[in-house]
Amino acid sequence: MRIALLSLALVMTLPALAAAQSAGDVAEGKKLFGGLCVTCHGFDGAGGAGPPLNRPKLLSAPDDASLRNIIAEGIPNRGMPRVRRVTDEEMRHLMAYVRSIGKSARAAVPGDAVRGGQIYGKLGCAACHIINGSGGSLGPELTNIGWIRGPDYLRQSVLEPAARLPQGNLPIPARGYNEYLPVTVVLRDGAEVRGIRLNEDVFTIQIRDTTGKFHSVRKADAAVVRKEIGASLMPSFANRLAAGEIDDLVAYLSRLGGAL
């Protein structure tokens, strides 16, 4: 009889205990996330320069094993570093929090994606961006941009493209370097080249100009090598779009790659 009672007590308390641990894990995980992850993945995992995590399925972490591996090791040569080593307990907390964001209700992205697609066409964005194989290659490819950027970042890119250049999406230049950084080079004969930096080392710099032409410059041969940190070759569309049109464009971009 005593044994039966004890068993009954266990059956009743175990699920409650598990639920309590899990809520505690989520709260602890949120604290860790606030220090380690929020800079790229945004508050509440809403996304930013890094992918939004507030979706039921994560492209690179569909299951717990892959999520654990990504937190533990990062994604080599891409934007995601291993920020720091974590203990088993800290890992449990972080995973519990990331999974909890995926289950939480997401704020809807306002705007009409179909109209946004038409605005994309009208503005001529395809002159510089490739989607599904079509478009120009001066700017970043946008085929999967809905997966890898949050709506707030996409909105900022349309309004203030120079505010934050992408980093860590391309294997070259190396992780941490601004991609699509505008540079101006004035050669000794006065000729000027302006374009984006493809790569650089101590003695040389490689540039693609606005016409798509490639230039290799030895720095010692140039009168000026100006890296335009804080600038972008993409114009701002803040004054060319009404507020509703911006919402539409962001809605369109957010769905690219089937992300929403």
Binding site: K31, L32, G34, G35, L36, T39, P81, V83, R84, R85, V86, T87, D88, E89, E90, Q167, A174, R175, G176, Y177, N178, L181, E200, D201, V202, F203, T204, A220, K227, I229
Partner: protein, 534 residues
């Protein structure tokens, strides 16, 4: 006949004499005089004084622009090459990652023998990549430390194992990456592993048999001086203090200088309140018994992982009207230190890179810490970065220019404090950090007045480098970049005189040798060793 040619000729005569009289290839006496034997490179840093300076001047300011590839050797298994080759009488001894040794013909680059220990697949290497930084040679034996924490003596002619001993328990996280240092009748090694909470030590072994001669722990046991700097808990038992880079030696003072690494856990000092002696310090040891003669601690109670293992340069200079025997180090914490190496007295300490953690050093060299610089849950931005303003890569000192050459890393890190749970053989770090890298970081080769630390010139690098430097009597400083540049600078002015692109991050350690009256400069980058000559 130039001075160098004379040196080479005399060296060759001496060598012939030694072969006839002693039999052994590299007796201790030859190591003591390594710097006057510049056609060879006999110790990790070129001499016991760790100058990484070549007295050869066949390649010099006037002709370096004609430097060309003589030969290249590709390593057998992909990995990072952070090694300094040795060259002895026509043979190069190169270590490859993780713990392989290969002998090469210095004229052609063709391998003569190669040896790889059996590294277990579950080897524990936490705290660095599985690299090897070089070998030592004494008499007819070549010594290599391995990532499974063995010390192995190989027959220099064939690569055959003469003895193989266990230095530390790899299951606890001990491993070896450093080049051993051969002294008279002994070979000295240190260990890596603070990121798993080891208790660091320095070991000396009988060079012929591998029998342990002495062991000196870098963390005092209960009852020993310094034990009180660990608080009342058991933090000392897992306190780190690794000894992972080759020391320097003064045969006249008979003092062995060995530096120590960070306390563990790296970024969380909760269980180790106090200075944590002898972590982040230099120990002056009696090489006959390992007794500590003096110590100097650079970073007491470190919470930023600023190991102090960096190479220590020994030199002499006039200070206050008298000749002093000095020891200099560009520390990972951003300060350049000069100590009296006979007594350990602190003489000078000045920043050589951006640092935001200290308001300078006091009269005894102790840092005056700023507030709010400790790692935190939300992250704390501090310079220098988590890998330091310097690290394992070698500086160089030129007796010709009296300058100390150092690659400096200008980068910040957002430092985090985390939990630390000790479990043998697993990471015991208590936090970590996120780099502020890319266009927000940079590097430079800096030439410092060795006595005062005052910068004479700098050559900017695109990104924080891991480049070691070699200075030569030809008035040159050789170095590299993370982007694959290898270059020669004017040792007096820092002006670039020659450069080439070798296609991989330059992590190897440059050295120079001569054979048949021709000077060579060797550097590893990517997965390849490149050797240049005129």
């Amino acid at each position: 006949m130039t001075l160098t040619r004379q040196v080479i000729a005399i060296g060759a005569l001496l060598f012939n004499a030694l072969v006839v009289s002693a039999g052994a290839q590299v007796p201790y006496e030859r190591l003591v005089k390594a710097e006057s034997d510049p056609q060879n490179w006999l110790t990790y840093a070129g001499s016991y004084k760790s100058h990484r300076y070549s007295a050869l001047d066949l390649i010099n300011r006037k002709n370096v622009s004609s430097l060309k590839l003589a030969w290249a050797y590709q390593i057998q298994r992909a990995g990072i090459i952070e090694t300094s080759p040795l060259v002895v009488d026509g043979v190069m001894y190169l270590s490859e990652p993780p713990s392989t040794v290969t002998a090469l013909d210095v004229r052609s680059g063709r391998p003569l023998w190669t040896y790889s220990p059996n590294i277990p697949p579950d080897v524990i290497v936490i705290g660095s990549p599985p690299v090897n930084r070089g070998v030592a040679i004494l008499d007819d034996l070549v010594y290599v430390g391995t990532v499974h924490a063995h010390l192995i003596a190989l027959d220099a002619k064939s690569g055959t194992v003469r003895w193989d001993i266990v230095v530390g328990d790899n299951k606890q996280g001990y491993y070896l990456t450093l080049a051993p240092l051969a002294l008279e009748g002994k070979v000295v090694v240190g260990v890596s592993g603070a990121e798993t909470g080891i208790r660091g030590f320095i070991d000396a072994y009988d060079a012929k048999t591998g029998k342990l001669a002495w062991r000196t722990y870098t963390i005092p046991a209960p009852g020993e001086p310094g034990f009180e700097t660990w608080g009342k808990g058991n933090g000392w038992q897992t306190g780190g203090g690794s000894t992972w880079l080759t020391g320097s030696f003064d045969p006249e003072l008979n003092l062995l200088y060995w530096a120590t690494g960070n306390p563990a856990p790296d970024w969380n000092a909760d269980n180790r309140p106090g200075d944590n002696l002898y972590t982040d310090a230099v120990l002056a040891l009696d090489p006959s018994n390992g007794k500590i003669k003096w110590h100097f601690q650079f970073t007491p109670e470190d919470v930023h992982d600023w190991d102090s293992n960096e190479t220590m340069v020994l030199f002499e200079a006039q200070i206050g009207g008298r000749e002093r025997k000095l020891l200099a180090q560009a520390n990972r914490n951003g300060f350049y230190y000069v100590l009296d190496r006979a007594t350990g007295e602190f003489l000078t300490g000045v920043p050589y890179a951006k640092q935001t953690w200290a308001d300078g050093l006091d009269a005894k060299g102790r840092p005056i810490r700023k507030k709010g610089i400790s790692p935190s849950l939300e992250g704390t931005l501090v310079f220098p970065n988590i890998q330091g303003a310097s690290n394992w890569f070698s500086p160089s000192y030129s007796p010709q220019t009296k300058l100390f050459y150092q690659a400096a890393r200008e980068m910040g890190t957002i430092y985090y404090k985390g939990a630390a749970v000790y479990k043998p053989g697993t990471a015991f770090t208590g936090g970590g950090g996120r780099y502020v890298n890319g266009d927000d970081a940079s590097g430079a080769v800096r030439a410092l007045d060795a006595t005062t630390g005052k910068m004479k010139w700098e050559f900017p690098l695109l990104s924080p480098g891991w480049t070691s430097l070699l200075s030569t009597a030809g008035g040159l400083v050789f170095g590299g970049s993370e982007e694959g540049n290898f270059f020669a600078l004017d040792a007096e002015t820092g002006k670039p005189l020659w450069d080439t692109q070798i296609g991989g991050a330059v992590r190897g350690i440059p050295m120079s040798y001569a054979v048949d009256g021709k000077q060579y400069v060797a550097i590893a980058a990517g997965f390849t060793l490149f050797v240049f000559a005129l």
